[in-house]
């Protein structure tokens, strides 16, 4: 069998994730790239629980469970500590969900990014507070159902653009990835681990339970999100130069939306608005990529 990604598993079965969980694939691929010399700092999120209760853990790397808003701040401290002990090699990784990144954790993340602390911050994005039972976060897409944005009043606000916020900090490396494209995800993790400074990885990780979809289409959804340009795959060097990794043919957004119970209530008009926004954001991304070509010289001397 020809394997296109490393064979070694640092995530072992027996964990408590729902059937078809995208977050586990995000972790599985990330650890394949980063290897055993890695420490994870995990705030409240699905991974706080699915790793297994005390005294068990399904991961073969050390994990520090930390308070919700502290994924980045605890990692910053750990990095400083390891550096003082002479260990500049071990990967210090914040591993947080969208809630712990876009909302409650954004201050600590911004602080770490501004200081350019040498950590890899990974946000696995399932677009809501799934661990607590599907409440909206600022990562929840416009018009989505969640328990706090019911069908009679679905989410009013567009999804917060966290990648742009991170780029604005001029950190050395910001990238998006999707669990449907593990080779791309692993390439980016490998790239991140060689860079000194703050690296932000935004991984698209569907949640069948929270999105009200059958578990078997988890990877398909992650693929469709990229193919419809709803979740483009791109990198930003030093917060300046944009590189689009994949230019999809462009499947209509409806092909992605129609598979999900959380979008069941969408009207024709809603879908049109969504398509228009997707097209516009893609166009902006294209222009950014063109306009910033070769402009990557870092802000950090």
């Amino acid at each position: 069998m020809k394997l296109t990604i490393p064979e070694v598993e640092l995530m072992t079965p027996g964990h408590l994730a729902c059937q078809g969980c995208g977050a586990t694939l995000a972790m599985r691929y990330t650890l394949k790239a980063l290897g055993p010399k890695t420490m994870l700092f995990i705030p409240a999120c699905c991974w706080s629980v699915l790793d297994g209760p005390f005294p068990y853990s399904s991961l073969k790397v050390p994990i520090f469970h930390t308070a919700f808003e502290t994924a980045a701040s605890v990692a910053s401290g750990a990095r400083a500590g390891l550096d003082m002990l002479g260990d500049t090699e071990t990967n210090v990784v914040s591993w947080a969900g969208d809630g712990g990144t876009f909302d409650i954790g954004i201050q600590a993340l911004s602080g770490a990014a501004e200081r350019n602390d040498n950590i890899i911050y990974v946000c696995y994005d399932n677009e809501a507070y799934m661990n607590t039972g599907i409440q909206r976060s600022s990562a929840t897409p416009w018009c989505s159902w969640t328990t706090t944005t019911p069908q009679t009043h679905p989410k009013d606000e567009p999804k917060k653009n966290m990648v742009e916020i991170m780029a604005a900090h001029r950190i050395p490396y910001t990238a998006t990835a999707s669990i449907a494209y593990p080779e791309d995800l692993i390439r980016k993790m490998n790239k991140a681990k060689e860079i000194k400074g703050t690296k932000f990885m935004h991984i698209f990780a569907p949640c069948p339970t929270g999105w009200k979809t059958p578990p078997e289409i988890c990877v398909k959804l992650a693929r469709l999100a990229v193919q419809t340009k709803i979740f483009p795959l791109y990198e930003i060097e030093n917060g300046l130069e944009y590189t689009i990794n994949k230019t999809p043919k462009g499947i209509p957004a409806i092909e992605y939306l129609k598979l999900q119970g959380r979008f069941r209530h969408l009207t024709q008009n809603d879908v049109e608005i969504i398509q228009k926004n997707v097209d516009r954001e893609w166009e902006i991304l294209l222009r950014k990529a063109r306009a910033t070509e070769g402009l990557r010289e870092g802000a950090h001397p």
Binding site: M1, K2, L3, T4, I5, E7, E9, M11, T12, P13, G14, H15, L16, A17, Q19, G20, C21, G22, T24, L25, R28, D51, G52, F54, P55, Y56, S57, S58, K60, I63, P182, P215, E216, I217, C218, V219, K220
Partner: protein
């Protein structure tokens, strides 16, 4: 301090499933996609072929969905 002492390998998540993926080795060409996309990392490689570990398989059926040759059948769990 709550420090973990061992893995979750004792946990038989195979009891979770209602349906079970079964690889049809006649159709399977060992492309590795099922191994790659298993959220429970419970498909392992043996003699160059994918083998499902039913002790852990939760029956999510991502493997069957992703298989490009439709070489994985979905059967009801007894």
């Amino acid at each position: 301090m709550a420090v973990s002492l061992s893995s979750m390998s004792f946990n038989c998540t195979g009891t979770w499933r209602n349906v079970k993926p079964v690889i049809d080795y006649e159709k399977c060409n060992s492309c590795g996609l099922c191994w790659k996309f298993c959220p429970d990392a419970c498909i392992y490689v043996e003699d160059g072929r994918p083998v499902i570990d039913y002790y852990y398989c939760k029956g999510c059926i991502v493997c069957a969905e992703e298989c490009p040759r439709k070489a994985i059948d979905v059967v009801k769990e007894e």
